[in-house]
């Protein structure tokens, strides 16, 4: 039978505040264990949480950027469960009254745009980290690092509007780009500052009801999310085709084996016993504050994309790629500022630059070629100093060494022969040396033209300005 996948995603994004959500401790990653801690984030008896206003501000930014409704009054709740990385025995989160609800973002799908609903965005604190030491089998120890405890997170829950792994991936990319454009999350999936869980069920195509869903966890890249969903669709399809039932459960993605496996165990039986946190008063949002925040919002990916299409006249596909991250968009715009031929700039970034970066798994921020330098290279082509073909090898060298185009061209003597007088003389010599070919050309065998170009290039070791060579040849023939 043919099935349709119903997918919903839950994203946890770490907010880029300087201090934790309920105390003044630093949120910096990578410090010595348990050095960014205090009585509050280690849950000492008698300590109390105090909400960091910056966290609310950042969450409002996320809510506005995803077209959510901001609740005038929301509340923190306690999610109760025991785990050694959770020092209070409960996580402060939001449950019945989240800060934001009912939003959406748009993704690009085959045949146009699609809205994916956002059910809710709520604030919560992160847990700590366990470090297991099995170096001595008999004396195995587990250690707890509370540095991450209390680092602010937002959880963004999508509606079950996603219908394929590709859409899931597009949704995640868009959401991540939005948060990064807002400067509220660094989007780092490997370090866990942008994490995703998925809910997926199947139903026979055309039906309205919902099937039994499974929850997928432990996917730490876009690719893994897509692969895990692919696998789960195949697994559920096979079960349903055999007339078996899907069990509602949590399954962990095993990237090494490429399968999802049931998590079975006590975590399954959780009843979190949510209730309003009596230590924190309800959060009342002043609409004027929301408007103030709205007025400071930066240009978001969709708006930027539209502007790129309008302002630079580049194709939608180019604009989509170039606005997939803020630094990349900035790079493009900088480059265009120094070399105002938007399509040429776009071509170079999308092919040469992104290819090199992808090869090295680098981000645009780590690129050794500043936008200004790329623009200078493009100018050299435009002015005929080097050919497009030469430019590609010059670019590779720029990328490897960080040198400027002019320096490389100069050091290697690569600049084109654009001396019209010298070239004219050379052309005359070549024509004189090949009377047979000249005669053929003049009788209409135009193919021979390429032969003459080749001869000029050979004589100049490829340095002759092709445009000029063409002109002179035409004149002399």
């Amino acid at each position: 039978m043919e099935y349709e996948a119903i997918i919903g995603l839950e994203v946890h994004a770490q907010l880029l505040t300087e201090s934790k959500i309920f105390c003044g401790c630093s949120t910096l990653f990578g410090a010595e264990p348990n050095t960014h801690t205090c009585p509050v984030c280690t849950g000492l008896p008698g300590s109390l949480p105090v909400l960091n206003k910056k966290v609310v501000e950042f969450t409002i930014k996320a809510a506005l950027a995803t077209n959510c409704r901001i609740a005038p009054r929301s509340q923190f709740a306690r999610k109760n469960y025991f785990y050694p990385d959770l020092p209070k025995g409960y996580q402060i989160s939001q449950y019945e009254l989240p800060l934001a609800t009912d939003g959406y973002i748009e993704i690009q799908v085959d045949g146009g745009k699609k809205k994916i609903g956002i059910q809710r965005i709520h604030m919560e604190e992160d847990a700590g980290k366990l470090i297991h030491d099995f170096s001595s089998a008999r004396e195995a120890h587990s250690y707890v690092d509370f540095n991450r405890t209390g680092v602010p997170l937002i959880e963004i829950v999508s509606a079950p509007d996603i219908r394929s792994p590709e859409e899931a991936s597009a949704y995640l990319r868009k959401l991540r780009a939005i948060l990064m454009f807002l400067d509220i999350c660094d989007g780092n999936m490997e370090e866990g500052s942008f994490r995703c869980d998925a809910n997926i069920s199947l139903r026979p195509k055309g039906e309205k009801g919902l099937g039994v869903k499974t929850e997928l966890k432990n996917m730490n890249s876009f690719r893994n999310v897509q692969k895990a969903l692919d696998f789960e669709i195949r697994r559920q399809t096979a079960l349903l085709d055999q007339g078996e039932k899907i069990i509602q459960e949590t399954r962990l993605w095993d990237a090494a084996r490429g399968v999802t496996a049931s998590m079975r165990g006590k975590e399954e039986a959780h009843d979190y016993r949510y209730f309003p946190d009596p230590d924190l008063v309800p959060i009342v949002i002043d609409p004027a504050w929301v408007e103030e925040i709205r007025s400071t919002l930066p240009e978001l990916p969709d708006a930027k994309k539209e502007r790129f299409i309008q302002e630079y006249g580049i194709p939608e596909y180019d604009a989509e790629v170039l606005t997939s991250s803020k630094p990349l968009a900035n790079y493009y715009e900088n480059c265009v500022r120094f070399f105002p031929q938007p399509k040429i700039v776009s071509n170079w970034i999308m092919s040469e630059l992104l290819r090199e970066l992808k090869k090295d798994e680098r981000e645009i921020e780590e690129c050794s070629v500043p936008a200004e330098n790329l623009a200078a290279l493009l100018r050299l082509i435009d002015e005929g100093v080097i050919s497009g073909k030469m430019a590609k090898s010059v670019f590779e060298e720029m990328y490897q060494t960080g040198q400027k185009a002019e320096e490389i061209v100069k050091a290697k003597g690569l600049s084109q022969l654009s001396d019209a007088e010298a070239l004219t003389k050379l052309v005359e010599d070549i024509l004189a040396a090949h009377p047979k070919e000249v005669a053929e050309y003049r009788q209409g065998k135009e193919k021979v033209f390429g032969f003459f170009v080749g001869q000029v290039m050979k004589a100049t070791q490829g340095k002759a300005n092709p445009r000029l060579v063409n002109e002179i040849l035409k004149k002399k023939l």
């Binding site: 009585p39 280690t42 849950g43 000492l44 008896p45 008698g46 300590s47 109390l48 949480p49 105090v50 909400l51 306690r78 109760n80 025991f82 050694p84 020092p87 209070k88 025995g89 409960y90 707890v144 006590k266 009843d271 016993r273 949510y274 209730f275 009596p278 230590d279 924190l280 008063v281």
Partner: protein, 485 residues
């Protein structure tokens, strides 16, 4: 008269008059402790060295003319308030060796005022109880009758004040834990408005109900102590930013024509006859002082105990989850995996009543029961608050007995939790509504046991209930009687 028998305001006069030193007062109190503590067991920890060091420092301040009303005054602190330099046990095995690495806000304020800390007072484990019998460290005995409990959970604080083992004390009140033991021990106890005193450093039992307050020998001392510990504090999100009056400065105002309501639901059943008689006598005294007495009704009050025993255990079940053997406190020996570490540490570390309430609360919050229990209780709580506001539309303060009976015998109720819970029938409504309430001695039973009168005010009206209590105290001498030890 011995120094330890005096009140803080009496001692303050002697101190600034140069007639005694803080060190002499502290030594006097320490000697008294040495004398009677064996009988009373008011303390979990006594810290003579710290107390004498602080007293010496207080003497320096006094010499320089920098003495405030609490400078050099020896206090007992309920062992649920974090005070650096000694353990904060909460009367529990699970925190037996817990030394807090930080100071509660009230302790910071008292230190800045030059107070002296003699020790940490005994209490029901995690403030759960009405008799101080639930302390891991053994019960406290009522100074008026050593076979009886001092009430609870701040029984150590109340008994220490009554037995002159300190000049004044701090307790905490979640459902009556300051007022009920104050009544049982014949001292003054104030539960301030929720949000008046910072809870930072008060180990949480039920966060939406807990407040720290004073237990003292008379109303003036209570007013002074309350003035020092009150005030907004950013580290407690539930503390309220309102100016703190000098509560002692306004004592002595007449209470003529002040409208005082008597809550009629208090007399329905289970009220001890002697308590009832003392209560009406007190009402008469206030009427004689010019107060206008009227009957008022709190129709939802009969549900208060039921509501409380959903909300308080629910919050407690979550608040006490942090005692898991991972970071501090008791960890069971001989366990090798996580789940049994949790189970054994908590089973062995907590006493029976605490475990009972954790189970009650966990149940009330569980999926499928939340709506019927926690949510319904929260709704009734709102109705109780509304009842009070309707009553305050007609009068300035309300009167109730503090406890339905005088102090009961050790062991009398300990095996009957429901009976024990009813000890707080008159004090719980105040906590649910977040209102300030105080208990003041208003008589003695024929057996010589103290009886308390409870005065309840509207939010942040501590000033008024203290004025009424002071007027009453000026015309009675119950507060002057001392137990025979």
């Amino acid at each position: 008269m011995e120094l330890y028998q005096l009140t803080a305001h009496e001692l303050h006069k002697l101190l600034i008059g140069g007639e005694v030193t803080a060190q002499e007062i502290t030594r006097s109190v320490l000697e008294r402790i040495a004398q009677v503590e064996k009988k009373i067991h008011a303390y979990i920890t006594v810290s003579p060295d710290l107390a004498l060091t602080q007293a010496a420092q207080a003497d320096e301040w006094i010499k320089k003319g920098q003495a405030g009303p609490l400078t050099g005054i020896p206090l007992a602190i309920k062992d649920i308030i974090c005070l650096q330099g000694m353990p904060t046990t909460c009367g529990s095995h699970i925190l037996e060796n817990f030394y807090p690495p930080y100071e509660a806000t009230v302790i910071e304020k008292l230190k800045a005022a030059g107070a002296v800390f003699v020790g940490k007072a005994n209490m029901d484990e995690f403030a759960m109880g009405s008799s101080t019998e639930n302390s891991y460290f053994g019960p406290t005995y009522n100074p008026w009758d050593l076979e009886r409990t001092p009430g609870g959970s701040s029984g150590g604080s109340a008994a220490a004040v009554a037995a002159d083992e300190c000049i004044a004390a701090l307790g905490s009140d979640t459902g009556g834990s300051i007022r009920q033991p104050a009544a049982c021990c014949g001292v003054v106890g104030v539960k301030p408005t929720y949000g008046r005193v910072s809870r930072y450093g008060l180990v949480a039992f039920a966060s939406s109900l807990d407040q720290i307050g004073p237990l003292t020998k008379d109303v003036r001392d209570a007013a002074q102590l309350l003035t020092v510990i009150s005030g907004h504090e950013p580290r407690d999100s539930t503390s309220i930013n309102l100016p703190v009056p000098d509560y002692a400065a306004h004592l002595g105002k007449e209470i003529k024509a002040v409208k005082i309501g008597v809550v009629k639901e208090c007399f329905e059943e289970g009220l001890d006859l002697e308590v009832k008689a003392s209560f009406w006598q007190a009402v008469n005294t206030l009427a004689q002082l010019g107060a206008e007495i009227k009957e008022v009704s709190l129709p939802h009050m009969p549900y208060a105990v039921a509501v409380y025993y959903i909300i308080a255990p629910a919050e407690a079940s979550s608040n006490l989850a942090r005692y898991d053997g991972v970071k501090y406190g008791y960890r069971a020996k001989g366990v090798s995996e996580l789940l049994s570490m949790y189970e054994q540490s908590r089973s062995q570390g907590f006493g029976a009543e605490v475990k009972r309430r954790i189970m009650l609360g966990t149940y009330a919050l569980s999926a499928g029961y939340y709506e019927a229990y926690y949510r319904k209780a929260s709704q009734v709580r709102t109705l109780i608050g509304r009842d009070f506001q309707e009553a305050f539309a007609e009068c300035t303060a309300l009167l109730m007995p503090t406890a339905p009976t005088p102090a009961f015998r050790l062991g009398e109720k300990v095996d009957d939790p429901l009976l024990m819970y009813l000890s707080d029938i008159f004090t719980i409504p105040c906590n649910l509504a977040g209102l300030p309430g105080l208990s003041i001695p208003c008589g003695f039973s024929q057996a010589g046991l103290p009886i308390g009168l409870q005065i309840i005010g509207n939010h942040f009206q501590e000033e008024i209930i203290l004025q009424i209590a002071y007027a009453f105290e000026q015309h009675t001498d119950f507060h002057r009687r001392k137990p025979n030890l």
